[in-house]
């Protein structure tokens, strides 16, 4: 790469969030360089399922982001849909008990009030949506806005498009310093090989976002939450939607360090069925956990008994970057002029990437962002 200086912004991180930041910034006419210590989609993005979900989010700032992203993903899909394996497949949340179904109904009602489409599916109609679902479920909800992309392809194609618009991409270089002027404002970054001068830096470093913030002298407590996804042998389409049990919503919102699993089952255009998602806080330990395997496999077979005889070929493992209140850090950091954050999306980074990128580009170009960014301010955590 050699983006002709002067640069307007350096994006640190070539995952899907960094790619979306680069794409929207380049589209807004800014001169952009993206730098990553690894390859494109080498971190959490390359280990994710590609969930674009509104169904699992309660009304609030994150759902607002998700709804904006849903719209943006549809726009992106018109141009890059097949290349990114975008599928507007919809989600189906099922409950095992009448109590569960009642809780789901109440939850869906709060979501409907802010624009989420949710349709109750009585037990007897579940199999019309998903013919292989286990018998005996109490019912479910259909969320037509839920969708899916292949995350690595999404990141790569957004970056390719950004490069076509003039952005530069530097992989395999680690950012070692963030340069600041006498007024404290960002002047650019240094990598192990070069200096990139720019008046703005976007921290899209995912799980390592806290370390990057520290290079700019600010506190941002991003921590890893480990997840596994099982991948089966290629199969004919036996799972049509994203299907998960109602417990998933509680697990996503949970702050517990303990292992939580609630299988999200879905087919892919390539054939394999993906079974996510476990959540546990164990630092950056990559060891395959037999207990995680057991729980994910058992829950998937409970939802879809036909999967019991299917072979599992591999597992993805990754680390979701989370912040203590489970909301991402998005936008300008009031403590350091020129520093912007786009990290800490936990397990929703793929879905929330376009909204994140668009909102930051609006800020960078002096427009009023479409959503209020106050809940996502990076200075909301008191220093440890």
């Amino acid at each position: 790469m050699n983006p002709s200086p002067p640069l307007d912004v350096v994006v640190v991180g070539a995952g899907v969030v960094g790619a979306a930041c680069a794409y929207y910034a380049a589209r807004a006419g800014l001169a952009v360089a993206v730098v990553d210590r690894g390859p494109v989609a080498g971190g959490t993005t390359g280990a994710g399922e590609g969930n674009l979900l509104v169904s699992d989010k309660e009304p609030g700032p994150e759902l607002d982001l998700a709804l904006l992203s849903t719209r943006l993903w549809r726009e992106l899909a018109e141009r890059f849909g097949p290349a990114m394996e975008y599928e507007a497949k919809g989600g189906v949340v099922v409950s095992a008990t009448p109590d569960g179904q009642r809780a789901l109904r109440a939850f869906a009602a709060t979501q409907a009030a802010v624009g989420v489409d949710a349709e109750e599916v009585p037990a007897e109609r579940l199999r019309e949506l998903e013919p292989h679902l286990a018998p005996g479920l109490a019912g479910g909800f259909h969320y037509p806005q839920d969708a899916q992309v292949q995350p690595a392809l999404a990141a790569a194609h957004l970056l390719r498009e950004a490069r076509r618009m003039g952005a530069g991409l530097i992989t395999g270089e680690t950012v070692t310093a963030i340069d600041r002027g006498p007024d404290g404002a960002v002047r650019g970054v240094r990598t192990d090989r070069r200096r990139l001068a720019a008046p703005a830096v976007i921290n899209a470093a995912g799980t390592w976002g806290g370390e990057l913030a520290a290079l700019a002298g600010v506190h941002l407590p991003v921590l890893p939450r480990r997840g596994f996804v099982l991948v089966t042998e290629p199969l004919p389409r036996i799972v049509r939607h994203k299907v998960y049990a109602a417990d998933y919503v509680a697990d996503v919102a949970s702050g517990s360090a303990a292992l939580q699993t609630s299988a999200v089952v879905e087919g892919t255009p390539g054939g394999p069925v993906l079974i996510g998602a476990s959540r546990e806080r164990v630092g950056f330990d990559r060891t395959l956990s037999q207990e995680v395997l057991r729980r994910l496999a058992a829950q998937a077979a409970e939802l879809f008994p036909v999967l019991a005889d299917v072979a599992v070929l591999r597992a993805y493992r990754g680390f979701r970057p989370y912040l203590p209140d489970h909301l991402p850090a998005i936008g300008a950091d009031p403590r350091v002029p020129g520093l912007h954050h786009a990290c800490g999306h936990e397990g929703a980074g793929i879905g929330l990437a376009p909204a994140t990128g668009l909102l930051i580009s609006e800020q960078l170009t002096g427009k009023r962002p479409e959503l209020d960014l106050t809940p996502f301010r990076a200075d909301r955590f008191p220093a440890a």
Binding site: A156, G270, Q290, V310
Partner: protein, 467 residues
């Protein structure tokens, strides 16, 4: 834990793989007093090297197809005599798990939920052997194109030939062995096409002279080939296989020192089968999954890093034979014996140490001589499939590298699906690494050593329960 810490584990040693290395290790360790379990996915001991004819064929003399069958027979006899060693056939190990007091070895022996087996052992020896390195070329997916090892396996296990007129091609000592077996079994071998010129060996005559048995073995293959009028074509490669339903001919071209095909040197050879091999790659994913350190050998293959006593960097995990760098059955047996001694805490004979060192040096010379040159990608065409499981052509891999910013095999895999199919990149791994421009492939990371039925994962293991 179902077993309390004070309760002894059922085995002192679990040996994964019952080929030459694993067999020698289990026998040695059991004779030194360790309680051993020897696991293998196959139906008998011997591994790929001492592959048995299927029982139903009633082969009277399997020894005729093998070098050193008497060595194997001796080990097998000692195994059945060893009270402390137990052989478990049909157990495919898919994961090793570290536990507080040793390892849980997770295996599958069939498709049902109840076919899951988890064994507990204080130490583990990985002797999982190797698999064939494949370099794609136009036409390599045609019926009739088999691997050199596959051709030998067909012969040893099924007593059948892959064709009547078989070109043998690729690089490495396995080619001569395969060609020799094929002509002895009655096939016509019009050519053995070897990418190197064998000069690599000659540069280190001292090492060769120290291993006379290897020379005798090589000479044995050579004389069999001479007797049958087989033509050796050094510094050449099959750059295309022709045919529609099946291979009917191949194009052979000369190569430069970097393995780049030289235009104008092509010649066509009619055949009805092609046995092609580019050496072997250590099967180490069970160990790398635990974070074991690796080294890149002189053949460019990633092997486990072991110390003089064959310990890996993972406490309690040892490795013998091809997993430490491909070197053949004699070396594997020597390393198995050595590891057996070391794990039992016994001092090996000095002669064994010397023998192992000598064989390992020879293996390194061979490995360096047959290391694929970077120019081999010159015989690829845009539509040549790199990954045959997922049908990913060269053009798609190049697009991922040139257009989408992939610079390493993992990203290429994420963006193209190359390596995501049944073989999990065992076939296309080296080729994808070359095409992604990252040079040598990194260590394999495969969470599952083989496909595992979901029901067996769901069943859990005694070791995992309660954790």
């Amino acid at each position: 834990m179902p077993t309390s810490p004070s309760e002894p584990l059922p085995y002192d040693l679990a040996v994964v793989g019952a080929g030459p290395a694993g067999l020698a290790a289990a026998v040695t360790a059991a004779e030194l007093g360790l309680r051993c379990v020897l696991l293998d996915g196959g139906h008998s001991t011997g591994g790929q090297y001492y592959r048995h004819p299927a029982p139903g064929l009633g082969a009277a003399r399997p020894d005729r197809l093998h070098h050193g069958w008497s060595v194997y027979a001796g080990l097998a006899e000692r195994l059945s005599a060893a009270e402390r060693a137990e052989f478990r056939a049909g157990h495919q190990v898919w994961a090793l798990e570290r536990t507080g007091d040793g390892f849980a070895v997770h295996a599958t022996r069939g498709p049902e939920a109840a076919d899951r087996v988890t064994l507990r052992a204080r130490t583990v020896l990985l002797a999982a052997g190797a698999y064939e390195r494949q370099l794609p070329f136009p036409g390599w997916t045609l019926p009739g194109v088999v691997t050199a090892g596959g051709a030998q396996a067909m012969l040893k296990a099924g007593l059948v030939l892959p064709g009547r007129r078989i070109v043998v091609a690729g690089s490495g000592p396995l080619l001569l062995a395969a060609a020799s077996s094929l002509v002895t079994a009655g096939a016509d071998v019009p050519a053995v096409v070897e990418a190197t010129n064998y000069l690599g060996y000659a540069r280190r005559p001292g090492v060769l002279a120290a291993v006379p048995a290897k020379l005798v073995e090589g000479a044995g293959h050579g004389s069999a080939l001479l007797r049958h009028g087989v033509r050796l074509r050094p510094r050449s490669a099959v750059v295309e296989a022709h045919g529609t339903d099946r291979v009917t001919a191949v194009t052979v071209a000369r190569l430069d020192a970097e393995w780049r095909p030289l235009p104008g040197t092509e010649r066509r050879i009619d055949c009805d089968a092609l046995a092609v091999g580019h050496g072997l790659l250590p099967q180490i994913d069970l160990a790398t999954e635990l974070g074991a350190d690796t080294v890149t050998g002189p053949d460019g293959a990633v092997a486990l890093k072991v110390d003089a006593r064959l310990r890996t960097s993972v406490p309690g995990l040892w490795s013998a034979g091809e997993t430490n760098g491909v070197g053949g059955a004699d070396l594997a047996i020597a390393e198995g014996e050595l590891a057996g001694h070391a794990i039992a805490g016994a001092l090996p004979r000095a002669a064994l140490l010397r023998r192992r060192a000598r064989l390992r040096s020879f293996a390194d010379v061979m490995a360096a001589a047959h290391r694929p040159g970077p120019g081999w990608t010159g015989w690829l065409r845009p539509d040549t499939d790199v990954c045959r499981c997922e049908e990913v052509p060269v053009a798609k891999v190049r697009e991922a590298v040139e257009e989408l910013g992939a610079g390493d095999p993992r990203t290429v895999k994420l963006l193209t699906r190359a390596g995501m199919g049944w073989c999990q990149g065992r076939m296309c791994g080296p080729a994808v690494a070359c095409l992604s421009g990252s040079g040598e492939p990194g260590p394999d990371r495969r969470p599952f050593g083989c496909p595992v039925p979901l029901s067996q994962l769901a069943a859990g293991s005694a070791a995992a329960a309660g954790e």
